[in-house]
Each structure stands twice: as C-alpha cells, then as structure tokens.
Amino acid sequence: MSKAVDRPGAEEIPSAPGARRIKTGAGWGAARLRAAADWPARQVTTSFVLPAVLLLFFLSIFPLLVSAYLSLTRFQFVPGGFALRWVGLANYGKLLVGIEQSHFLGVPKPPTVVGWLLFGLAASVLLLFAVRGITSASGRRGVVGRAAFAVVAGAGIWLAVRTLTPGGFPGTLLTTLIYVVVGITVQYWLGLWLAFLCAQEVAGRRFFRVVFLLPMMITPVGIAYTFRILMDLGKGPFAPVWRALGLAEVSWANYAWGARLVVMLGDIWQWTPFMFIVLLAALESLPAELIEAAMVDGASRWQLFWRISWPQLIPVTSTLILIRMIEAFKIIDLPNVLTNGGPGTATESLTLHAFMAWRTLDIGGSAAVAYMLLFVVTFAALSYVNLAHRRLAEAA
C-alpha cells in the first residue's frame, strides 16, 4: 500500500521491491544539483591515484612493454634511419642454445663424484619438497608452485654443479647468483654482528654508528675505483705487504675466483651498512623484559642472543633479505669499473652483460638478457616470499 503523495506535481516511482523513492520536479533539480556538486568529491579518489598510475605506466609499465617488444626484434640501420625487424624468440634462443650460450649459461663439464653427490642430495630434498606439496592440503596452486620451484631450482643446481666443476666455467647467470647468495649472506651476518656490538652500552658507539654507515653513502663507482686502487697489488697501499709475502708475481686479476672475490668484497663493504642500520634499529626496539626474564632464568649470553633476540629479528631479517636480493641481482658498477667483467667473463653480471650488448646497439640482445634477469629475479623473489618470508613472519 503506497503512501499518498500530497504535494502537487509529486509522483511515486518504484525503485526496488519494498522501497519507494519520491521524485518531484523541484527534488529532481535539487538531486541533479547535489549530484553535480558531489561530482568532484566522487572523483577525488581517482584524481589522487591517477597521477601515480600514469607515472607508473609511463615510467615502469610502458618501458617494460617496449623492452619486451625490443627483445623480439633486431635493430638495424637502414637508409634514412633505423628499423626494428621482428625476429621472434631468436634473441632468447641465442642466449639459451646459440652463440651466447657459453656466455650466459657457462661452459659445463661432467660433474665430479662430489658434484653428483651434491646434486643427488639437492634433488632428493627438492623431490621431497614437491611430494610434500602433493600430500599436504596446500591446494592445486600450492602443488603447482612447489613443482615449478623444484624443477627450476633443480635445473639451477644442475647448471651450478656442471659449470663449477673443474674445467667448466659459470656464465653471467650463475655469476650473478653467486654475487647475490654470497653477498647477502656475508652482509647479513656481518651487519648483524656490527649492529649487536653497537647496541651495547660501550664508549664511542655513536661514532661507530656513523662510521659504519659511510660506505652506503658513497657512489658505487667511487667505491669501485677505491677498491681498484686498494687492490692494485703492484702499486697500491698493500703492495709492500704483498711483496713481503712473496706474492709479487701473483695478481687476483688473473684468477676468476680472485677477481670475483674482490668484486664481492666491494659489494659487501658497500651494502653491509644497510643491513647494519636496519638490524640495529630492530635490536634497539626489542622489549627488554624478555631478555631480563631470561637472564633471571640463568640464560648465557649466547642463549640470550640465539634464543631470545634473534627469533624476534626474523620478520625484519626476512624483509631485509627480500629487499637486498632484488637489489643485488642488479649489480653492475663494481665489476664494470674493477675488471670490465674480466678476466674473461668471470666477473660479468647479467646487468653488465646486457649493458655491454646495449653499448654496441645490439638492443634486441640486450633486452633479452634484461628480460632473463627479470624472470630470474621474479622467480627468486616469488619463491622466497612463498616459501620463506611468509613462514618466517608467521613463525615469529
């Protein structure tokens, strides 16, 4: 039963079952006015977000799409300018099975007995991991994710075992992974140790906090040149020591692992402060009650750190490693300045590989290397987030 509408010109309009809306000539106009007045308010969210979206599109997504296209083309000069000729997956093929294979993937050799044992062990762990995914209630997505991780990680370990074997040489892909894994591991534990020291009530800790931060503030190229001078064992400051040790005829620059070690030293020197400062902040924000309670219970200093403090740092640790990992994959300055990627291609990272191709205007080849790096970083970051980051965060 509808209620009578007593104003002239008023009419009843149905809108939804059990609901009515009154529309009058004057009300219609007022509603439109209100709607018009509200329009800016309704658009405010969009207008605030739009600049960021456009910026992201033009600075990030657009170049990403263009470089994907470039990786499928070949750059050539033609009368009147240049042309991009479609070549499909040829640039990727060149890296994986073509003339760039040894550069990108390395030179494999048959594994030694130790290599086989290591690979067998890793393969067993990965198989177990994949099988547990099927038997656990993680759903189809979880099973596929675990299987994909097991296959890719297994392939990576197989590549590492074969190219790190005597006579083999790792390519730019594995060299980059070595920089990432070794660099982050050392940076984390060194940063944690320094943070732990600076968190103690000792004299001069403020001074050391600043000093330990300095390397992070220097431009990477500056660090690379500094290390180049420091590590010049013929003329540098350590030359007399090197000679006194009877090593005047030996130079790190001639040895693949010597050169990689120097690059990693520079990287560790530069990035340990980042770990240090974040971990120091985390350490200082830990509640004192737990530590005091443990001390009352007679816990040793080692137990205090290992059982009380460190577990509370795990969420920060996990995020720190994720941020550093994504950044570490992009290493270029140090190998470029220190060794130009040499000796041979021993210190060449994926970014340097792409950069060298780009310098000779092999733009398609360069984009293909960059995309391979993107795939690796995405896979590593996703695997880390799904397999480690969430669990560590939940466990904490």
């Binding site: 240049f82 003339i99 030179v107 040489f169 060794t339 130009n340 990627g341 000796p343 310098r359």
Partner: protein, 496 residues
C-alpha cells in the same frame, strides 16, 4: 658628492668596454651567437686539445664551442641514440671513423666533400693519403676531417737494447728474446723488478686491437686490399686456421714477460708503465713517443725507440688454412723474408658534423674542425702527449721544429716519425674493420673470446671457434651480401 662621483666613474669604467669594445669586436665575426656542442670521449686525450683550442677559435670567429665528453665505450651508442631519436643535442662528433658505416648509411652525417674542396686553409692534400681516403671517406664522399693518425707500433728502450747489444725486434721471436732478457730486472732504478713486455690486455678496453697487431703479420701478406679479417670473396672469417692459432699463441706468450695483473691493464696503465720505466717493450699507438718527453711523468726521456710492428716469416695460405713459409710470391712486400703488416688500428680520431644541425651551426662546426686540423694548430698538438693526437700530415713528418720544441731530441724524433712513416708507407698496411656494426664483431665477440682465452676459460682452438662462430652469426644476421659489399668497399675492391 665625492661618493656619487666615484660611483659614476666606476660605472663608466665598467660599462665602457660593453658599450665600446664588444660591438666593435663582434663586428665581422662570422659565428657570433652560434654554439656548437661537440661530443667526444672523456679525456684528457682528444678532449684536451678541443677544450683548449675551443676558446681560441671563439675569439677568432665568435662561435662558442662546448666539448661534451662521455666514456669511450659509451661514445658509439651515445652518438647514435642522439641522432637516431632525433634529439640532436650535439652538432659535431669527434669519434672513430670505423663507425662511419653505421653513421653514413642512415644519413646522420653531413657530407663534407664540397666544403673540404673549397677550404684552402685546411690544406687537404697535406693530409697523408691513407687518412684522406680511408678515415675521412666513405663511398667516395668525404664525411670527416682527420684530427689524428693511428698506427700501432712496438716501443722499446733504446738504452737497454744498446747495453745488451740487441736490435729492435723485427719478428715476434725477437720480441720474446728482448722481453726475456729484461723481464724481472730493475729497469728504472727503483730497486724493484720490472717487466719485459707490457700490453693493454684488459677486457672491453683496447685488447682486441693489440691481438690484431700480432695477428696482422700472419694473416695479410699480399697488400692492403687482401684484408685481414675476412675472405673478400666469401666473407668467411680468417680466424680459424693455423696462422691465427700461431698469432694467438704469440699473444698469450707475451703474458709470460708482463706484469702479474696485465689482464687488468688498459692503455693508460701500459703507457704509464712504459714512461715510468717499468717496461722494456710495449705495443701502442703513437702516444708513448710524446708522453715519454714529458719531464713531469717520464723517467725514460730520450731512451725510447719505436719500430714498425714485428712481422712473421710464415703466413697464412688462404687455400689450405696452413701456416706456410714466406716466398717472393707469397709475401711480395716482405723485408728479409719477414712479412710486416702494420695495423692502422682505429683509423685516427676524426671530426664529423650532424646533418640535422642548423646550417649556420654546421658552418661553425666545420670551421672548428678545419681549424683543429690546420697545420698551424695540429703541428703543435701532435707533439703533446696529453692530446692523444698522433701525426697524420706530411707537415708533421717533415717539419721537425715542433718536435724539437716539445723536448724530443732530433734522433728520437726521427726514430719515432720513421716508425710511423714506415707503417704509413707500407703497401701491406692492414686496415681496421669498417663494416656495419663492426663494434659487435670486435668489441663483443673478438674481445670476449680473447679475454676468455687469456683467462684460460678457453684454449686457443676454442677461442678461434668462438670468434668464427660469433662473426658468422653476426654476418648471417645482418646479411652476408650487405656485409661482404661493405667489406670489399672498405678495402677498395669493386663489388662483384
């Protein structure tokens, strides 16, 4: 009142030059208000003379010369991305004439033939024919003004060789004998052992020219037109045969007498090593000669000799791929049975003009390049080590006065210029590669394979295969016919 008068006087004094001198001075200057951005590589070499002489040129003509520098390895792509994207921030380039194939084909460079022909002050015919016809010309048209002459030579210590009763090296066997004699001896009196041979072997630097300086004498014997990189009929690389294997073996062996970190030495290190007396031998362009004269840095003043690149008594038989002994037929230009093939590595820094620049700016840019090359300026510049400019005009070879003024003795100047002349006048001179995308052939494939070989990542056979496969892949990618045509044209062979 006195204060007011003082202010008035000061103002008049300050404004007088602006009111009177400037307009008068600007009258008659052809390029007033014109700015030319010149792109070249980060100095001090090459950039230094341009930066030093830019203001002098400005005073004469009114033009403002801005010299913008980038690292050498970035120069190629910096020029091309600027012109290819239409940015056109630079109106002139001082770069490697080897790259002309990539710059001229798309039409990025201004043709200079008519300007050069009309420019008497440039004294075009005074420039040695090689630099005129090879470095400056492409497809029969002039595109660059030569500013530098480039040949690789072997430098030796005259005092050491004299003491030991040795002669400058004619073959690589001689080179090793000298290197072995002086390796691990104190050559500069600082009490530490020094090195028999110093060669820039750093990756992504100049190593790929150095290795070709060794290989050239094994690969090319029948004159410049034979070429040393590819078979001029099939475009098949000449990098997988006994001759190239021998050249690589020699190149690797030089490391036995080099500094321990030689694989990380570029020419900056090898030049510094030689002029500070740490090396008995070195391979380099013409730079060590003038650098050795500088009393601030040199410990080997008047102790430096230069000689044409050592040759080989055995050369490549192109039909069989074997290394065979020189005969009159096989090595028509040999001396005493030794085939010398001086390598014109790089081709000499040259100046070019961006075709898209405004007409007036192009005029100013050309005038500046011409000014830099004219004998009045260049005769002095080639004698200064820091310029990186080496002799390329007849006047540079015949007029010894600037060399003597620079501090070089007459004997040293004659020796140094003689070595360059011998290279320049050789009928078996080896031209550097000048085909489309030669950067990928040399700076990527050749350089990487050589670096891997020196680092023992590859053995000699594997390195040869990697270079050959890599070059073949690029040739197939860019089109064999196109590349072959460009290669033949670069050697002056008519296209079939």
């Amino acid at each position: 009142m006195r204060r007011r008068v003082s202010w008035l006087l000061v103002s008049i004094l300050l404004l007088l030059p602006l009111a009177g001198v400037t307009p008068a001075a600007s009258q008659g200057k052809p390029f007033d208000g014109v700015t030319v951005n010149v792109l070249t590589f980060t100095g001090p070499q090459i950039a230094e003379p341009l930066q030093r002489r830019g203001p002098d040129f400005g005073k004469l003509t009114g033009a403002k010369i801005n010299v913008i520098t980038v690292p050498f390895s970035d120069l190629y792509q910096k020029v091309l991305t600027d012109v290819a994207t239409g940015t056109n921030s630079y109106q002139a380039f001082v770069f490697d004439p080897q790259w002309m194939a990539d710059f001229v084909t798309p039409g990025y460079l201004e043709e200079l033939t008519s300007r050069v022909n009309a420019d008497k002050a440039l004294q075009w015919t005074d420039i040695m024919p090689f630099f005129r016809n090879f470095s400056a010309t492409y497809g029969g048209k002039i595109y660059t003004v030569p500013l530098d002459g480039d040949f690789q030579m072997v430098y030796y210590r005259t005092d050491l060789l004299q003491q030991a009763g040795l002669k400058p090296p004619q073959t690589w066997a001689d080179y090793f004998k000298i290197a072995q004699t002086f390796n691990k001896k104190d050559l500069n009196g600082d009490g530490t052992p020094d090195f028999g041979s110093c060669i820039a072997k750093k990756r992504n630097a100049q190593s790929y020219w150095m290795v070709w300086s060794v290989a050239a004498g094994y690969l090319q014997a029948k004159g410049t037109r034979e070429g040393s990189f590819f078979d001029a009929d099939t475009m098949k690389p000449l990098t997988n045969n006994e001759a190239f294997a021998e050249a690589l073996r020699v190149y690797v062996q030089t490391g036995q007498y080099g500094p321990p970190d030689e694989l990380n030495w570029d020419v900056g290190d090898s030049r510094s090593g030689f002029v500070t007396g740490r090396c008995a031998l070195s391979i380099d362009w013409g730079d060590i000669g003038p650098l050795a004269v500088d009393p601030k840095t040199s410990k080997v003043q008047d102790k430096v000799g230069a000689v044409i690149l050592p040759g080989s008594p055995r050369v490549l038989d192109r039909k069989t791929g074997k290394l065979v002994a020189c005969t009159v037929q096989k090595c028509p230009y040999s001396t005493g049975g030794v085939n010398h093939a001086p390598f014109a590595a790089y081709g000499g820094w040259s100046g070019a003009i961006n075709k898209a620049a405004p007409a007036k700016v192009k005029d100013a840019a050309y005038a500046f390049l011409s000014y830099m090359s004219q004998p009045a300026q260049s005769s002095t510049d080639v004698t200064i080590g820091i310029t990186g400019f080496n002799p390329y005009r007849r006047a540079h070879f015949t007029n010894l006065a600037p060399w003597l003024k620079s501090g070089m003795s007459a004997a040293a100047a004659k020796n140094y210029l003689g070595a360059i002349s011998a290279s320049l006048n050789s009928a078996n001179m080896v031209l550097d590669l000048r085909i489309p995308q030669n950067q990928r052939y040399q700076q990527i494939v050749l350089d990487t394979a050589i670096a891997k070989m020196l680092a023992k990542e590859l053995n000699i056979d594997q390195a040869m295969k990697e270079i050959t496969d890599g070059w073949e892949a690029i040739t197939n990618e860019l089109g064999r016919d196109t590349q072959l045509k460009a290669y033949r044209e670069s050697l002056g062979i008519p296209t079939k």
